[in-house]
Symmetry: C3
Subunit: 167 residues, 3 copies
């Protein structure tokens, strides 16, 4: 499985601090034998929200259409502040929503972390690429990856057409 | 209660195998004293996806508008392959979404079957008809019907106007 | 926190019975030290559904845009009867959906009240105001407020910009 990792962050892009959430996804991918094929950071400058949205959408679309990745995991920008526009950018490029994946991420984390309900993340497919929004915090990313593990391989097989059985 | 059953399947339509998921809905309906008023199959030919989508949407709209059914249960086409277009077809004919019904189907099945989160099914109303997408597998259908049992009678009373109290 | 309370009801508006659901929100707000800044009732006359929808949407937009409230809680009109149009009115004025809040309300109530899955309520933000649809019944309102308590303060801090960290 070829993974793309897109971090949306006000700090990581400027290099003021490490992209620890993106790093957590890289570590997870390596542990599972996945290839990290693409990685990027979009800075979420608070004074240019429309531009941030367009940059996220542009990268998601380009990555998905490149054929270089089977799944794109984003981290960051799913919250309730006015700068959080990752769900809007993602919805704009998705061809088919998979709401259950976003529900899974929230419902699975909420019992021990009620604020997980506040993530506005979405998920779905564009062409043969699955796109999933993860939270921005490193803890949220790890929780989310643990949930995805239950069905991600199967999901990607269906999306890429490796497996044709469908429900 | 008058039930319509629409199977979306690549096999059932061609008669290559029995429509066991549709049969499971029929058995459930009879057991509960519901009338199976309409039943149909749309073959999901992989080379004509747009046509399949249009056929599903057309049948859902015609059935709902006929006044012959109180609830339409679909089975199949809710997954992540490119041929799975039942949610798109259904969304196109719904007048009012009832997202909680789709959430219930996923959340209730997921504890023992994590892949249930991958179903992209939707639910909602068109006129006085409730439409619910169930998964394609016979096991998924049975799990879904068990969940629906907790609120379907009440839901249909509200949709058809038999009961006017509302929440 | 400044709270707006909007009741959608066929009875409360006509004064035929007390607005007990709205009263329950007032009691909850006072207990928690919140200010009830705005309160209103929209009667959901069954013969003027489009007008009811427009009135709900108009009040939500005006309240949110006034800067007088940080959160608007609605009660009523989220069900499956043809008169229930609160979700449609709310979706029309939301700028950014927060689907997890609506999922939380349903998923948390459903274990002891399966019909909670039938609520079609939505949630999200308009400008710096959070809007959440609660059910119409007093019991449903109380259940919903208990769920909101787990994350509402934090959510409003994010929406209003009091807290700038984001996920």
């Amino acid at each position: 499985m070829r993974v793309g990792i897109l971090t949306i962050s006000d700090l990581g892009a400027a290099g003021e601090r490490a992209d620890t959430s993106g790093d957590a996804i890289v570590a997870w991918a390596k542990e599972r034998g996945y290839e990290v094929a693409l990685r990027g950071v979009v800075p979420d400058e608070s004074d240019r929200i429309a531009g941030v949205l367009a940059r996220i959408a542009g990268m998601l679309a380009r990555w998905a259409d490149s054929g270089d990745v089977d799944v794109i995991l984003t981290t960051g920008g799913t919250g309730l502040t006015e700068r959080d526009v990752t769900p809007e950018a993602t919805r704009g490029v998705l061809e088919r929503p998979a709401p259950g994946i976003a529900e899974a991420l929230r419902a699975s984390a909420a019992p021990h972390f009620p604020r997980a309900w506040l993530s506005r993340g979405v998920a779905g497919t564009r062409g043969k690429t699955l796109i999933v929004n993860l939270p921005g915090s490193t803890g949220g990313v790890k929780d989310g990856l643990a949930v995805l593990q239950g069905f991600l391989d199967h999901a990607v097989e269906l999306v890429t057409g490796t497996r044709t059985a469908h429900g």
